[in-house]
């Protein structure tokens, strides 16, 4: 139980901090509702046009359920890419990082634990997206294959987090102006099929999209939740995510170790 004590302490602290800003807390959920309503009307505008049906046939042909999952789960992209660097920078700026670093808690533990709340809160937000879609707008998840979707989600979090840790390494050294998060976030949203299927992209852009983990994540999650696809159908996407994680995770750990050693040498660990 003692091993969970530190991560749980971070979770509790961040929860208390979050709810101490009550209005912002409530507002975040309100913004989900408005975002879902907006896409509902966009979907209504597109209606049952044959071009939409054709492009989305793989996912059941309904744009609203397609985009609902896209915007909901792309939250994990943002949080995976940004939360490590944002949280470290925030602790540097409010002045608490140094106080944490003189405790016998490793910096890697601090970085990982301080992002837990972001992931927990994002899971809650994604749940609210799906709930609103299901209750108010008739999206059906009755045939969903939950286990493949959960596995895809776990692999997605690992893949995005590896990139996020590389991004945090940049912040550790350069403090601002991290190119990794910016480039990946923009490209992933553009090419990963968040708002539209990648099949509508020109061929060369489609080829590029396969270099981004979000392409596999969204495909696997959509197929599992909307079409009830099992492991055999989304296996290729899951393997792609595993390969992606196996490559990026060790790179991210090496980058992070180098960044910490350099910041300690420079004496700039707590600077911002």
């Amino acid at each position: 139980m003692l091993t969970l004590r530190k991560p749980l302490a971070f979770l509790k602290k961040d929860f208390l901090m979050e709810v101490s800003y009550r209005f912002s807390f409530v507002l975040q959920f309100a913004s989900i509702f408005f975002s879902v309503v907006m896409f509902y009307f966009v979907a209504k505008l597109l209606g049952d046009a044959p071009s939409v049906q054709n492009s989305l046939s793989e996912y059941g042909g309904n744009y609203f359920s397609f985009v609902l999952i896209g915007i909901a789960f792309s939250n994990f992209l943002s949080v995976g890419l940004g939360s490590f660097s944002t949280n470290i920078r925030s602790e540097q700026m409010i002045g608490t990082l140094e106080a944490m670093l003189v405790t016998p808690t490793r910096l890697s533990n601090i970085v990982l634990s301080s992002s837990q709340w972001s992931f927990a809160f994002t899971s809650l937000r994604v749940g609210v997206y799906l709930l609103i879609g299901g209750i108010f707008f008739g999206v059906s998840f009755s045939g969903a294959a939950v286990l493949p979707a959960i596995l895809a989600l776990v692999l997605t979090v690992i893949a995005f987090s590896s990139l996020g840790i590389i991004s945090a390494s940049f912040i550790m050294i350069f403090k601002r102006g991290d190119p990794i998060a910016f480039a990946l976030s923009t490209s992933s949203t553009l090419l990963g099929g968040v708002y539209y299927p990648i099949s509508i992209l020109p061929g060369w852009l489609q080829s590029l999209s396969y270099f981004f983990p979000i392409t596999y994540s969204l495909r696997a999650i959509r197929l599992s939740l909307l079409q009830g696809a099992g492991f055999s159908e989304v296996g290729g996407d899951l393997i792609a995510l595993v390969i992606f994680s196996l490559i990026t995770l060790p790179i991210s750990l090496v980058c992070f170790r180098y960044a910490v050693a350099r910041a300690k040498r420079d004496g700039s660990l707590a600077y911002y």
């Binding site: 003692l2 004590r5 530190k6 749980l8 302490a9 971070f10 509790k12 602290k13 208390l16 901090m17 101490s20 800003y21 409010i94 002045g95 608490t96 140094e98 106080a99 944490m100 670093l101 003189v102 405790t103 016998p104 808690t105 490793r106 050693a261 300690k264 040498r265 420079d266 004496g267 660990l269 707590a270």
Partner: protein, 264 residues
């Protein structure tokens, strides 16, 4: 010497400054700047050691090296026998850093919630932490204010909460960086009393970095005077100063060093 809890040999910290585009001839030229040079210190258990020096003397960099926040460039040091560079985790179990930086707490949380969080980072099990938090709040006389948000505390209360956090894991050595900065005379006197009676008398070691010479004279058993990253003199206050006051001795020493520096 079994009771030595802090020892350094030739401890040095050099920082690299890049000239950047201020130097158009060679924008990538690096300048090495020694913030701390060849420091030898020995501090014994129960001692109050003062690190004195003007701003920029290297006190804070030295304190950060002793707290493992900055890696030394050369030399070595140990805390309770553990190497500063190689056994950082073990060193951190033996130390507490109490700075005057009141922003090192979460202002939206209560004092108790802050202590609860830092107790977990120190690895205290939940029940032990709950008991210890009660004890330290009692010691720093903050029990009644424990459930108020940190942002509502006065400067003195924030400083006491810093002490409470330092006491949580019952460390061997307390590093205090400008501990009385911003405190009124009564709070300063209370803090001095606390350092003397609650810490040093119970066998704890305190290293105080300060530029308040009167403060050092009042509470320190021994002092080390730093200037330009070097330790100019160290020893018991009375032995160093003789009949002169610490402030006269300090001024003469610094002036003499500056003259020597100009001549060479």
């Amino acid at each position: 010497m079994a009771d030595v809890v802090l020892e350094t040999h030739n401890l040095t910290k050099e920082f690299i400054k890049r000239k950047g585009f201020s130097s158009l001839r060679n924008p990538f030229e690096k300048i090495v700047f020694s913030a701390v040079k060849d420091i030898d210190i020995t501090v014994r258990r129960g001692e109050i050691f003062g690190l004195l020096g003007p701003n920029g003397a290297g006190k804070t960099t030295l304190t950060k090296m002793l707290c493992t926040l900055v890696l030394p460039s050369a030399g070595n040091g140990s805390i309770c026998g553990f190497d500063l560079a190689k056994q950082q985790g073990k060193v951190k179990n033996k130390i507490a850093l109490i700075s005057s930086e009141e922003r090192s707490f979460y202002w939206r949380l209560t004092g108790k919630q802050n202590l609860d969080f830092f107790a977990a980072l120190h690895g205290l099990p939940k029940k032990v932490a709950a008991r210890r938090i009660e004890e330290v709040l009692e010691i720093v006389e903050m029990k009644d204010a424990a459930h108020r948000r940190f942002q509502e505390y006065s400067t003195g209360m924030k400083q006491r909460m810093g002490l409470a956090r330092g006491l949580l894991a019952d460390p061997e050595i307390f590093f205090m960086d400008e501990p009385t900065k911003g405190l009124d005379p009564i709070a300063t006197w209370q803090l001095h009393e606390f350092i003397r009676t609650s810490l040093a008398d119970s066998g704890k070691t305190v290293v105080v970095a300060t530029h308040h010479l009167a403060e050092a004279e009042q509470i320190c058993d021994r002092v080390g005077i730093m200037f330009g990253g070097e330790m100019l003199a160290s020893g018991p206050v009375k032995e160093l100063t003789g009949d002169a006051s610490l402030s006269d001795f300090f001024r003469n020493l610094v002036e003499q060093t500056m003259v020597e520096g100009t001549e060479t």
